[in-house]
Amino acid sequence: MSPGQSETHSSAPARWSAMPRAVIARIRVREFGVVMAFVAMLIALSLLSDRFLSVSNLSNVVQQSAVIAIVGFGMTAVILASGIDLSVGSVLALTAAVAATWMQSGVDPWLAALGALALGAGIGALTGLVIAWSGIQDFIATLAALSVYRGLTLLHTGGYPITGEAMFAFSTAFAYSSILGVPTPILVVVATMAVLLFLLRMTALGRSIYAVGGNREAAFLSGIPVRGIRVLVYAISGLCAALAGLVLAGRLASAQPTAGAGLELDAIAAVVIGGTSLFGGRGGVLGTLIGALIMGTLLNGMNLLDVNAFYQQVIKGLVILAAVLIDRRPEGG
């Protein structure tokens, strides 16, 4: 049985080094349905609310979806390798809190940010090591990690948000600045997606990730370092969580002790809506971006239309459910 059943990769290595055009064509076929759904939402919302289609609102929507999108990209890598990472929200909070502490005590913001990213990758790798070597199920292991890292965050912050002059300066310089007219957080999202897209679609490493997720046994038998790949995807997830933490801390000019609570579910939702299979081996980050945008647009639209907050929760859940149901493909070759 060949690894995976989708058109995103084939069993013949030769096709992977084919022209970029072929890859792009495959991407289009895969994610087209989700894009169509997204466009339909945009059209519907612009008809229902005259405030929706303004540049400022659309810019808001993308920025509001940024945190979920970035965490979602990391989550995509993990899910593609048939894992799951429930600890992303806690990692986000912990790395942001540490970065904020450093910034507040005078460390250069760039350095502090890089430190946070390294910390995130390190924490992720640690989680991955535990999972790959102990054989504990990733659901349980990352659930435990969720608790541990959240607890560490609360210990570190004392339950108080970390804020001050340095954080306000960071906020203005990072979250509320723009480069060539494009808000910086949007550029961060695009850059992260581009890097992961390249990694997943254009490198042997990426192919290995899909392979591990599609059929772990077969991947192992074909010489792919399965354990190493599993550690890698968790490291990527941790790195993305830390990056998202910086974006969020920038938006809120503070590191909140409860930051990212529940974010893992939103990230998984974005990944699933985007078409990546929870069983692994199928999907990609482009879909996740659309998934995050669909969720962000939905919430923004409901705010613009003045929908009661409690109904917003219900509708959000129903849309996720609908997306998963629609995306189910019949199993088997």
């Binding site: 087209f32 349905g33 989700v34 169509m36 759904a37 339909a40 939402m41 519907a44 919302l45 229902l48 609310s49 405030r51 303004s54 400022s56 609102n57 808001n60 509001q64 945190v67 004392g158 339950g159 108080y160 948000p161 804020t163 954080m167 306000f168 906020s171 979250a175 509320y176 969020l248 938006r251 809120l252 000019a253 503070s254 909140q256 002790p257 409860t258 930051a259 609570a261 669909i294 939905l298 919430l299 923004n300 639209g301 409901m302 705010n303 613009l304 239309l305 003045d306 929908v307 009661n308 907050a309 409690f310 109904y311 509708i315 129903l318 849309v319 609908a322 997306a323 629609i326």
Partner: protein, 292 residues
């Protein structure tokens, strides 16, 4: 299959529209959470005042999430509301939101809790410091100036929690016989109040009084005390929500510091309307002590 998804999503939105309100000259109220009866009353006061003044009021619930509240405020600005009534989930985290409103020329009035920066037209809140002091005074009198006291704190980072804590501690300094043996955050939440109180009961063999910075936590603490079969512990809350007033009346709670949330909401709307028609106001809202 994809078309079905499109249909479902679009239907969901059309359904949402049928639930939505009108969009005319409007005020926007961004409330921290509607899970707390205090803020429900505040919202209701605001809605009543809006109805009398003939303006529309949009209410967005941030569910105690600063990130969501930032998005809510941004969306209110998008909707070109005439003014924003903001009840911040966190004093620092909402500063960027206030700054954005300032830049967009939308006046901001903070209600019940303050923000740490940005320009605010008016701030409508109880004097939480005075309220904390009042609670300390009451406990001191009841205990004759001697005893061990526990405090349950609200969400760290809110001005309400900070001010009530400050006031309470200030009030205690006059009574050296009163010792604050534990002070823990329970985030203004009843379930957390119960859990934290249970843990403190385990750790402290002798407790004479508990001051909870809001009634929700106080009610949780009362539950914890009862379950642990401890006696002789008086509980004082803050807010005077209906459940708490009932508890005071039948003796389960010793006292609560009554705010006037409905009036706060009402004043918020009235101040906004008054400002938009010319003028500035800053109004402290009176506190009362509710005892049986």
């Amino acid at each position: 299959m994809r078309r079905l998804f499109v249909l479902v999503a679009t239907s969901a939105l059309v359904f949402a529209l049928s639930l939505g309100g009108a969009q005319q000259i409007t005020l926007g109220l961004s409330v921290s959470t509607l899970n707390n009866p205090f803020f429900v009353t505040l919202r209701d006061g605001a809605l009543d005042a809006a109805r009398s003044a003939g303006v529309t009021l949009i209410v967005l619930d941030a569910q105690d999430s600063p990130a969501k509240q930032l998005n809510d405020v941004q969306d209110l600005i998008q909707r070109r509301v005439s003014a924003i009534l903001l009840n911040p989930t966190d004093a620092a985290a909402l500063v960027p939101a206030v700054l954005q409103a300032n830049r967009a020329g939308v006046p901001v009035i903070t209600v019940d809790r303050a923000v740490a920066g940005g320009e605010v037209v008016a701030h409508i809140a109880s004097d939480n410091v005075a309220g904390g002091r009042q609670a300390a005074e009451f406990i001191a009198q009841q205990l004759n100036g001697q005893g061990s006291i526990v405090m349950l704190e609200g969400i760290p980072g809110t001005s309400a929690a900070r001010d009530r804590g400050t006031g309470f501690r200030e009030g205690l300094t006059k009574y050296p016989g009163l010792r604050l043996i534990a002070s823990q955050p329970a985030n203004f939440d009843r379930a957390q109040g119960l859990n934290v109180m249970q843990n403190i009961l385990q750790a402290q063999p002798r407790i004479d009084a508990v001051f909870a910075q809001n009634d929700e936590m106080a009610l949780g603490a009362i539950q914890a005390i009862r379950t642990a079969n401890r006696t002789g512990i008086m509980v004082v809350g803050f807010d005077a929500i209906p459940d708490a007033v009932a508890a005071v009346m039948d003796g389960r709670m010793a006292a609560t510091i009554a705010q006037q949330p409905a009036k706060m909401g009402q004043l918020g709307v009235e101040t906004a309307v008054g400002y938009l028609r010319g003028g500035t106001v800053s109004i402290p809202v009176d506190l009362q002590l509710v005892v049986r």
